[in-house]
Structure formats: structure tokens, C-alpha cells
Symmetry: none
Subunit: 423 residues, 2 copies
């Protein structure tokens, strides 16, 4: 088979998603895998364990897509009706699959148990399907070829589905279709909002259309990820083209770029970048936090192996602790306020000296909702970085939401340190 673009749809069956009890992570997994391999996903639908509804959604999906991947509704209980419905949909009858039964027996044997009658029924599959073995559970997968389309039914248990999808379904799809090359690269930015970014790069963005490259803005507090996608027949050429666009972009917004992400490969977070750089330099870090209340330390210590470079922190939430533990003169707090350049610089200097580290981060701000003054609204934050040579500090004005102010402060602080480490 050859076709300009191969499109798939995903249908998840079951009430758990529709009542909001379960977040649909299966679809994201399948969609990632398909997109990485040049199959685009047209629609994802979650439908109920209901015969008419399943049939309707299959009909609709077939009008749009070449491939339909279904998950769920294959359990042994009465409310799971996917298999029966598929049998009816393809106007076929059930057959007993010996290999599927052997796989079910093996699963039960692993728990030292005999197959129950209800689970024996799971070895029955529609006559016309190719059975896909399930090595992690009792429900086999089913592969149908029907009116030029491929329809696959997989169990809904994530680790059963994932193994089946990756090791069996995807290779079979690659055999059937000549798939295009696809390149995704993501630029990670910090310190500029989505709309300012859009204004800055408007011209560059316009040029992307000429080369048929798609751009997506993916915002999170204090950060925006820019994803470039290109599709074609020559992977090498696509890579060069996208890399060139990234080089062009760097000329415009280099100061905001902290990293890149190649689709499919794990992305490096700011705290991971810092960890890597500190390990490379064999240097250490301490923090002194006020408004972030431990969140910067938490991000740093979420990274496995952080104890190699992270020594510790003083969280000086009260004025008193700033004075006694970080030697901030009471007089400065009284005249300049706790959220001020001299205070945050002293915090950074003190913790670096006290904890004997190469670098330190200090942050003091008004997370909100209380604590603002006429000249210092909620969202005002001072951040300082101390090194062996200097102390740099910067003032920020974030928003009014406490939790996001904490996140934005932490991201800005980590990015300031990254810039220092990369100098």
C-alpha cells in the first residue's frame, strides 16, 4: 500500500474515562508512537461500553482514517462487550484460539492457578481476525483488515497495551504502509510569555510555512516550548532544514532558549541541566528560599543523584530566620523590606558561605494573596545567584496566583543559575 498520508484514529472503550475516574494515558502513548513513525492521528474518541455507540464510532472513524486502534472493553466481565460487538460489526462468528488459550493458561500458572471458565472465554476471537498475543494478560489483541482499513482491538490495561502496541502492532503497520519520514524538534524557552514570543518571532514563523514546517506553542508556568514538525521523504534533508530554522531562531531569541528536545528522546528539565553541569564541573550548590518555601530545593532534589552536588538549604520564611541564619541586618529589612535587592543578595551570599558551596540561589518575593505593599504588588520577586566571583540579582514581576508565582520564581531562579553555569 502507498498513500500520501496515513492517518489513524484511536478509540478507547469504557466508562472509567467518561466518568473522569481515569485519565486517558493510553491514547497519548499510542499517539506518540504513531506520530514518531509518520502516522498522524486524526481523532481520539472515548466511548462507553455500549454496542450502538461502539459501532457508530467505528463507522465515523472509518470515514476519516486508514487505521483504527481501539483499547479497552476486553475484560472477562459482562460490561466488556468490545469483542462481541466487533464480531457483529464484521458479520463473523467466534472461533476458539488455541494459542490465546495457552497464553491464558501460562498467566494463570504463573499465579499457581487454574483457568476459570469465564477466563477461558477470553480465548475466543472473531473468525476473521489475526490474533495478537498478549504476553502480559489474558485478553488477546485482534487485528482486522476490512474494506481497505486496518482495525485493531487491544486490552485497556496500560502495560499490556503498550507491550502489544510497540512490539507487535507497530511492526505490522510498518510492514503494510510505506511511511514518510518525520522530524520533530522542540526548543525550550524560559522567561518570555507566549504572546511576546509570538510577536518577536512573527516573521520567522511566517517563513516556516514556505518550507511546510509546522510550529506549536506549548506553554507552562514561566516557560514556553516551541515545537517544529516537518514531514517528507528524506529524513536527512528534513533534519537539516529544521536545524537551519533553529539556527535562525537562535539569532532572535537566544537569551530565552535553555535547551532542546528531540521528539521521542527524554527532554532535559532545567533542574536536570543544572545537575549535569554541576556534576561536570564537580561543583556544589546551596539555596536560601523565602517565598518559594522549599520548591526550588524540591525541584533540584527530585533529580536522582542530586546529593552529588546539592548540599542543602535554609528556608527563611520568617524575618527572624533571615536575620539569625542568613545574617540579614534587621535594619535593612526594616528600611528596604524583605523583598529587596540587598536582602536577597545577602541571603545568597550568606548561604554560599555558611554551606561552603560554589554556587547559591536565593529568592524572596510576595507569592500572594497577602503581603503586598503599594510599591510591591503580589508577584514581586527578587532572585540572586552567588558565585565565587560575583553576586547577580534580578527583579521580577509575576502574576497574582500564589502557586504559579512559586513555580515561576523557581523556574526563573534555575534559569539564572543555568546561564551562570554555561558561561
Amino acid at each position: 500500500m502507498e498513500k500520501k498520508e496515513i492517518e489513524a484514529e484511536i478509540i478507547t472503550i469504557g466508562d472509567e474515562i467518561l466518568i473522569g475516574q481515569v485519565i486517558d494515558t493510553n491514547s497519548a502513548y499510542i499517539a506518540t508512537l504513531l506520530n514518531l513513525n509518520g502516522i498522524s492521528v486524526k481523532q481520539i474518541s472515548s466511548v462507553s461500553d455500549n454496542r450502538e455507540h461502539i459501532i457508530k464510532s467505528l463507522d465515523e472513524a472509518q470515514q476519516r482514517a486508514d487505521i483504527i486502534l481501539m483499547t479497552g472493553g476486553l475484560g472477562p466481565t459482562k460490561d466488556d462487550i468490545t469483542k462481541k460487538t466487533l464480531c457483529e460489526y464484521f458479520n463473523t462468528s467466534m472461533r476458539f484460539d488455541e494459542q490465546a488459550y495457552k497464553d491464558i493458561e501460562a498467566i494463570f500458572a504463573a499465579y499457581g492457578k487454574e483457568v476459570t471458565p469465564i477466563n477461558r472465554l477470553q480465548a475466543e476471537v472473531p473468525e476473521i481476525c489475526i490474533t495478537i498475543r498478549n504476553h502480559n494478560g489474558t485478553a488477546p489483541g485482534m487485528w482486522f483488515e476490512y474494506q481497505g482499513k486496518i482495525i485493531v482491538s487491544m486490552p485497556g490495561v496500560p502495560y499490556e497495551m503498550k507491550a502489544m502496541m510497540k512490539n507487535q502492532i507497530l511492526p505490522k503497520l510498518k510492514e503494510q504502509y510505506k511511511l514518510p519520514s518525520i522530524v520533530h524538534k522542540t526548543i525550550l524557552t524560559q522567561g518570555i510569555g507566549e504572546s511576546y514570543l509570538a510577536d518577536l518571532i512573527a516573521e520567522w514563523e511566517n517563513d516556516l510555512t514556505t518550507d511546510n514546517i509546522k510550529l506549536a506553542y506549548l506553554p507552562s508556568p514561566g516557560m514556553v516550548r516551541l515545537r517544529l514538525s516537518a514531514k517528507g521523504n528524506n529524513a536527512e534533508k528534513l533534519n537539516l532544514l529544521v536545524d537551519q530554522k533553529i539556527e535562525d531562531l537562535k539569532k532572535i531569541i537566544s537569551e530565552f532558549i535553555y535547551g532542546y528536545e528531540t521528539f521521542g528522546e527524554p527532554s532535559e528539565t532545567l533542574e536536570q541541566i543544572i545537575g549535569r553541569l554541576l556534576k561536570e564541573k564537580k561543583q556544589t550548590l546551596s539555596t536560601a528560599e523565602s517565598c518559594t518555601g522549599g520548591y526550588i530545593a524540591h525541584l533540584i532534589t527530585k533529580v536522582p543523584g542530586a546529593s552529588e552536588y546539592y548540599v542543602g538549604s535554609v528556608i527563611s520564611y520568617s524575618y527572624g530566620i533571615k536575620e539569625t541564619e542568613l545574617d540579614v541586618p534587621k535594619e535593612i529589612i526594616e528600611t528596604k523590606g524583605a523583598v529587596s535587592q540587598p536582602v536577597v543578595e545577602q541571603m545568597a551570599k550568606a548561604i554560599r558561605g555558611k554551606y561552603k558551596t560554589d554556587y547559591s540561589i536565593a529568592a524572596s518575593g510576595i507569592a500572594g494573596p497577602g503581603g503586598s505593599t503599594p510599591d510591591k504588588p503580589v508577584g514581586t520577586v527578587w532572585i540572586a545567584i552567588a558565585t565565587s566571583e560575583t553576586i547577580i540579582s534580578e527583579k521580577f514581576l509575576f502574576g497574582t496566583n500564589r502557586e504559579r508565582n512559586i513555580q515561576k520564581t523557581a523556574n526563573a531562579a534555575l534559569n539564572m543559575l543555568r546561564k551562570e553555569l554555561e558561561k
Copy 2:
């Protein structure tokens, strides 16, 4: 309007979900909120930022449901086309919404910035819609009434959507439809796993069926929430019935229950309970953290007004800081290990004295993946609480996942303090 069962559909718009880069958590939030208020969700669909596709999915959804809730595609950038498509779908033109513009100005003003031309366009909405104010972002929501159906478009940014959905859309839906009475009460437990809990309360759970009460287990690291749901016409009777079931449950698992949650009212988290109790007692708290690396402090300081009772913390990530800042004798670390009862008790005692607080929390453990010894596997954690009268400490054995170990430790520590405060 009155109808036997009101049904809704959710449509999420945007390529992020279809390429698998973003997991669709918005739909789960909306589905939960609707189901808890007596509106069932028929289908959830994720479609691309594509005019024809959005229109097709609206057509399909309208055939099945009374209410269509859409999220996403309302950003200021070119790839967001939801608003334009809705305008076309409803055969209407754009109008400039003054209130929406004021809200956009306010958001920009909070950052000390002027509205950009591209963001000014976000104040335009289709003529026939009722504008839903966005208090957290620049894209207003839009409420359409069309051929007896309600169609709502909301931004895709989760915290913007959530606030809009809960505070504006849901109340408006309740006005329009006569919904059944639904009572949901949630029992919050800490310190017992899902399957152990299920075994303990099996008999009680069986009895629920007789009264047509549904039970859901909602697990998160170290905690399980048990949600009871009853549907009917008499809210008062339903309330009494559910309360009686909770009284029965307390006889079985009272030691694990730390709180309750009534749907619609904000639930009190462990850190909020602690904050409330400390404020009531006018007492103070400090923390000394090792393996949790600031996460306990972060949870405590996420609560607005935490500065009233929370003084600060020493994060003693290295052995050295435990010795110099928390007076843990080097010899004890060498003989007993940093993850041991004497170390964690000394940490609690030292921080309480040094930071002059009424209570303190200390935690030391092996979050993993590294750092284990034959007698102390990954997941081994010691937690201590110091009060004016005593120091209590407890050993835990959590799992192998670093992030979950950090979360479980923090929750266990907060629960230990809660028990002390409630004595």
C-alpha cells in the same frame, strides 16, 4: 428544560493531544464535575486545529448530546482557530467585547505591561455568544445556545479552564437543567494501601449496594480517598443515608481517616488541616528535611497565610549540614547511619530549638534509586515530630520510586503532625 437524563460531550481541540505530547487531563476534570452533578458524559473527542474537523465533530456531538463542552484552540497565535470556526458554524460575525478587553488589560497590567495587538484580538467573540469571563488568562470563554443545545468553548490551559468550568459554566448549566439530587462525600485516608483497605471494609462495601450507594477508590501516593455517591430526588434523605454509612465506616477504619470532603466544597488537605490547627492554637512550626529535599516545606507553604505559623527549615541534604546546622553527632551518623531513629530525632529536636517553634517535623530516608544498604532498602524512611513535651518517631518502608517516596514521606509526616495537633 426537563429531561430524563442530561448528556454532555467533551471536545478537546489542538494537536498537542493528537501527537501525544500532552495527556488530556482537562477532560477528566470536566467529566468528573459533570458526573458528580448528574450530567453523564457520552463521548470525549480530541480533534485537530482544523476547520472541517471541528465542524464535523460538533455535528456528530450534537446528534448525541444536549451539552457540548469544548476546550482549547483559543490562544492568540495563528494555529488556534476555534473561535473563527465557531463564528462560521453559527453563521454569525465577530463583536468586540469590552468586558473581555478589560479583563485582558487587567492581566497585562498585573505584569506591568500593555496589551499587544495580537492579544487585543482575543477580546473579539462571535456576536451570538454569551461571553464567559476568564479571570486567569486572556482568552474569554463562549456560551452558545443553538437549536436547543448548549455549546461552550473554554481555553485549554488547565487552571483557566478549571476556574471557568467550576465557577461559571457549571452554575449556568444547573440553572438551565433540572438535575437529579446527587450526594457525594469523600473520606480521606492516609497510611493504608488500596487492597488492604478493600479487604478491611469488604462487608461494609457489600451493604452499600442494598442502598444503591456507589463507592469509588481514588488512590494517590500514601493516601486513598473513598468516594460515596448516591443519586435520587430527596437530597436530605440521601445526605442522612450517606452520613450513616460514614459513621459505620468510622467504626472499622477510624485510625486511617484524616478528613472528609463534600463535593463542591473545597477539600481540606493535610497541610491545610495543619495550618488551621496551628492558627487556632497560635503555635508555630519548623521543619528539617533530608530525603524530601524541601517538599514538606513546599506543601506547607503552598497554603496561603502559612507565614503566620511556619517559620522555616533546614534542608540538610549532606551529612555535613546535619552535623553543623542540626548538631547531629558525626559518630551517630557513622554508627547508625543518616537514616536512623537517633538522627531523625536529633534533627527534629535541633530545628525546634534553633528556630524556636512549638512543633517541628524531621525526615530522613532513602528516596532512591541509589543509596540503599543491605539492611536499609530504597524506600526506608524515618520521620520524627518534636513537641514541647516529647519527640515521637516512626519508621516507614515505602516503595522503589523516588518521586513517590518523596510524596509518601511528606504525607506521612504531615499526618503524624496532624495526629499530634489533634490530641
